[in-house]
């Protein structure tokens, strides 16, 4: 990401040059190209080659905001968009804090998010590695079938320009493979998945993706419904990352301002167990969502949100920063050219402990290892804090993994779970999500089953 004069930045600048006196204008332009390959039973089942592009324009005048977008970069397509955004602005309620980001002097930390070799990578080896992933997965276990094996790469270019002085352009690319599995035993079928992410296909670990997809499915064969009770849960790294995604909604400065955060008045208080430190660090190149700038074009930065269990920081966009009397923490989040930026975490991680999952499990007399959760979107409410999710996994008895279990829920509240963290694993793992995973042990969680 830089102020380098790309074609897209030129286009964005041309749009904001048409701003009227007294109005702020932002143009966000993006273009991406994607290749997606799906293999089934040794054949290419789907091959998608896609390019999309578009521009989103925000106009702010007298505290009123309007927005419009179009999914093309054709001059004729773009021509009416600024006018439409301007018209939309007339219908907003004046908000004294409304405004675009201003350059804040925080320098951009350069990251290597672009790989020339991936951009030049040919189609045949992409197909070959997808077929190889399917073959490797099938070879792990005779009970395993492959639902689909996938390769995907994406190349994204963006530019943003504002009348307040923001000028940013950049590009990044990446690739990943994923495989979905089915494991059969008699009438019973269980499912699993595995994946690997990289900046170049050579970085993709097909063996690991295949092995994990097979293990996840076969490990659940013969699973029973457990008895309801309270116990210690051990969250697999993938589940922990999903849990952190839920927690992040409570640390959002905009939610705090609007009375939607259960941590709103808890600044400086002990909201988590001692030893629990949560950071949002998009400047870590290892993070899947690493980025040099946020959704408003300000430098991305490392923020410590919870330090040794104490609530230390909410993440802020320029709007929430201005309104709360603080400043942007570089946490504007933007889904693409079709919308305006909101506020949120970019790349979360818990600071890791030291022990492996196996060592942790060996120290637990009675617990359950949660391998997958289902229904985080329906059973978790980050405003009330209620947490309830369907789950499957493996019981832990006297320090050893015992029988697989499924068709149960685990429930607590977000507030209690953070306080009830017993141990944080040392097995930090970067996942294709906004949060990194590691093994997390939480005490006193309700398991509902039979």
């Amino acid at each position: 990401m830089s102020t380098q004069q790309t074609e897209l930045l030129t286009l964005a600048e041309r749009v904001i040059a048409d701003a009227h006196a007294g109005e702020q204008v932002e143009a966000f332009v993006s273009r991406d190209r994607e290749t997606a390959i799906r293999v089934y039973e040794g054949e290419v089942e789907q091959f998608t080659s896609a390019q999309s592009e578009g521009i989103g324009i925000r106009v702010i005048r007298d505290g009123r905001t309007g927005f419009a977008y179009t999914g093309t970069l054709d001059a004729s397509g773009i021509s009416g968009v600024l006018e439409e955004a301007r018209d939309n602005a007339a219908f907003g309620t004046p908000d004294p804090w409304a405004g675009l980001a201003q350059p804040d002097g925080v320098p951009v930390q350069p990251l290597v998010l672009w790989n020339d070799a991936l951009a030049a990578y040919e189609t045949p080896p992409k197909i070959a590695l997808t077929k190889e992933l399917e073959r490797l997965t099938l070879a792990t276990d005779r009970r395993v079938r492959v639902d689909d094996a996938n390769y995907s790469d994406v190349l994204v270019e963006i530019a943003v320009a504002t009348t307040t002085g923001i000028r940013m352009s950049g590009r990044e690319n990446g690739c990943y493979v994923s495989v979905s599995t089915l494991a059969d035993d008699g009438d019973e079928t269980q499912t699993g998945f595995g994946f690997s992410v990289g900046r170049h296909p050579d970085e993709l670990d097909l063996d690991k993706a295949a092995r994990e997809a097979a293990e996840r499915a076969t490990r659940l064969l013969g699973a029973v419904k457990p008895q309801s009770r309270r116990l210690t849960v051990v969250l697999d790294p993938f589940v922990t990352a999903q849990f952190l995604g839920v927690v992040s909604a409570t640390l959002n400065g905009e939610s705090v301002l609007k009375g939607r955060s259960l941590f709103a008045n808890r600044f400086g208080e002990q909201v988590g167990a001692r030893g629990l430190t949560l950071v949002d660090d998009p400047t870590n190149e290892l993070a899947f969502t690493a980025t040099e700038v946020d959704g408003e074009g300000l430098a991305a930065r490392r923020n410590t949100l919870i330090e040794d269990g104490v609530l230390a920081q909410f993440v802020q966009s320029s709007y929430s920063g201005r309104r709360s009397g603080t400043a942007s923490t570089g946490n504007a989040v933007r889904g693409g050219f079709k919308g305006t930026p909101g506020c949120g975490c970019l790349a979360l991680q818990l600071l890791p402990g030291t022990r492996t999952q196996a060592d942790i499990v060996a120290g637990i007399d009675d617990g359950v290892l949660i391998q997958m959760v289902q229904g985080l979107h329906s059973g978790v409410n980050p405003i009330s804090g209620d947490f309830s999710t369907g789950a499957s996994g493996v019981m832990i008895r006297n320090g050893a993994l015992a029988e697989p279990v499924r068709e149960f829920t685990i429930a607590s509240t977000i507030q209690r779970m953070l306080q009830d963290v017993i141990e944080i694993g040392g097995d930090l793992e970067w996942l294709p999500m906004r949060a990194a995973g590691l093994t997390l042990v939480v005490g006193d969680v309700t398991m509902s089953g039979a």
């Binding site: 089934y40 091959f47 018209d87 007339a90 079928t189 409410n381 009330s384 607590s412």
Partner: protein, 463 residues
């Protein structure tokens, strides 16, 4: 949207590399949305998405490319990319001649949203805000959203089909936060229909806002939901998602074909209690999942999936139907021109039974009454599903008593279908939904009468 001659030439280009089937799906969609939060109309948004997706099928391989460039050159480039993707060379020449087909519209739009001023749309938000806030001093936050879309689609394929359709959708939602001694609680309600602005003659946004507010206020005195297995009574119009998840997805032919559904090979079997008749119906006028044609150009239709508990058929798209040599069922849908179609539901619902809903509650000694459900999800291979209860109450000695905090309900699809033991006579459709599958979201509807499931696992924290 695109000239007849251009379509024929582009399809001919797409078939040049030996494709067996080629299709152009073109779309021009305009949308407007407006959001209110924290007492302010934050923003009015408008957008336009326009482009075409071209797929070419050869053997088991589907090649797909899409473009926002609707000129003949842009379309031809996409056709070539899709053809190359579907094949590694070879091929012959096959020209395509198109015949236009018309289908009687399923939805009768009276007031196109683009004829309504933005200030009228924004006024609805302000009304909803006032109505929700006047429900009580414990209401601390309200957000509301208005949205409309007007989409024109065109499907042309190498079988000679040429068909166009217009789809108009209008929706409105309200979210409320209430604050009390025991923390914050939320309420939510929404409407969505495939008609225009006249939807607001039928539904009152004030009423919608009051319901959302009341839900949040009621939950302020909620106690933790029980944990473990209990009888569950689901209010009419709030539990269609149960069937969407418990069996709907498992009846999609693409999942069945890959042996990724517990319902594979079970046509003719008694898969549900004989009380249950399950229908997927894209022709249900004005409902959120109603479509005149699906996104492969096939007319929508009413499909009976389960009749008196017996599995009668799956849902089909073009590819799966072609493979099995049987008719499509109007269930080939896609999120946009940037996506490939696949088998999707439309409006999925269970037909009325005979019980008085009050008798169902009275006949339940100890259980849970679910008045509002959130989203859900299912693992189609195992049949295990979850869905969230966003408004629920205890049933004690045949009466609805205390409100419960939120939690998930879980079950196993085939088991729950057998365990439905009482079915009411008060059928209602539920809230508009967005069904997600393989990364694509499409609008769907669902509905059911009040019903009882003998036992489901409730994911609360109380003993």
């Amino acid at each position: 949207m695109i000239d007849h001659d251009v379509l024929e030439r582009v399809l001919t280009t797409a078939m040049r590399s030996g494709g067996e089937f080629a299709e152009i799906y073109a779309e021009d969609k305009r949308l407007t949305s407006a959001g209110l939060d924290d007492g302010k109309v934050e923003q009015v948004n408008s957008g336009r998405d326009r482009g075409a997706g071209i797929r070419v099928v050869r053997g088991e391989t589907t090649g797909f490319a899409h473009t926002a460039d609707m000129s003949e050159r842009g379309l031809r480039e996409a056709a070539e990319a899709a053809a190359a993707a579907a094949s590694q060379g070879g091929g012959g020449v096959r020209t395509v001649a198109l015949t236009r087909r018309t289908t009687a519209p399923v939805n009768d739009v009276v007031v196109f949203p683009d004829t309504i001023s933005k200030s009228d749309k924004v006024a609805l938000l302000l009304r909803a805000n006032d109505a929700a806030r006047s429900a009580g001093s414990s209401i601390v936050q309200v957000s509301a959203g208005y949205g409309d879309s007007h989409k024109r689609i065109l499907v042309a394929n190498s079988d000679g089909l040429l068909v166009e359709d217009e789809q108009v959708r209008t929706n409105f939602r309200v979210s409320v936060v209430a604050s009390g001694d025991a923390g914050m609680q939320t309420g939510y309600d929404s409407i969505g229909h495939t008609i225009g602005f006249e939807v607001f003659d039928r539904y009152d946004v004030d009423e919608l806002a009051r319901r959302a507010a009341q839900q949040a206020l009621t939950k302020l005195r909620a106690r933790p939901a029980p944990s473990g297995s209990l009888p569950v009574v689901i209010k009419a119009g709030s539990g269609g998602v149960l069937f969407h998840e418990a069996c709907g997805h498992g009846l999609e032919a693409d999942l069945v074909a890959k042996n990724a559904s517990v319902y594979r090979g079970r046509v003719g079997d008694q898969v549900a209690n004989p009380l249950v008749t399950l229908v997927d119906d894209g022709t249900m006028t004005a409902e959120w999942g109603a479509i005149t044609i699906d996104d492969e150009g096939h007319p929508s239709q009413r499909n009976v999936l389960i009749e008196n508990g017996v599995l009668t058929d799956y849902m089909w798209d073009f590819l799966r139907a072609r493979k099995e040599g049987r008719p499509q069922s109007g269930n080939g849908r896609r999120q946009s021109y940037q996506h490939l179609p696949m088998v999707r539901m439309t409006n999925t619902f269970v037909l009325n039974g005979t019980e008085d809903p009050d008798d169902i509650i009275r006949g339940t000694d100890h259980g849970v009454y679910v008045a509002h459900l959130g989203g859900g999800s299912v693992n189609t291979a195992s049949g295990d599903f979850v869905f969230g209860m966003t408004e629920a109450y205890l049933i004690e000695h045949g009466e609805i008593t205390e409100p419960l905090r939120e939690g998930n309900l879980i079950g196993n699809g085939p088991q729950v279908l057998q365990d439905i033991d009482l079915l009411g006579n008060d059928f209602a459709m539920g809230n508009p939904g967005t069904c997600g599958k393989d990364g694509q979201g499409v609008p769907v509807g669902d509905g059911q009468p009040t019903l009882r499931v003998k036992a489901m696992t409730i994911g609360g924290t109380a003993a």
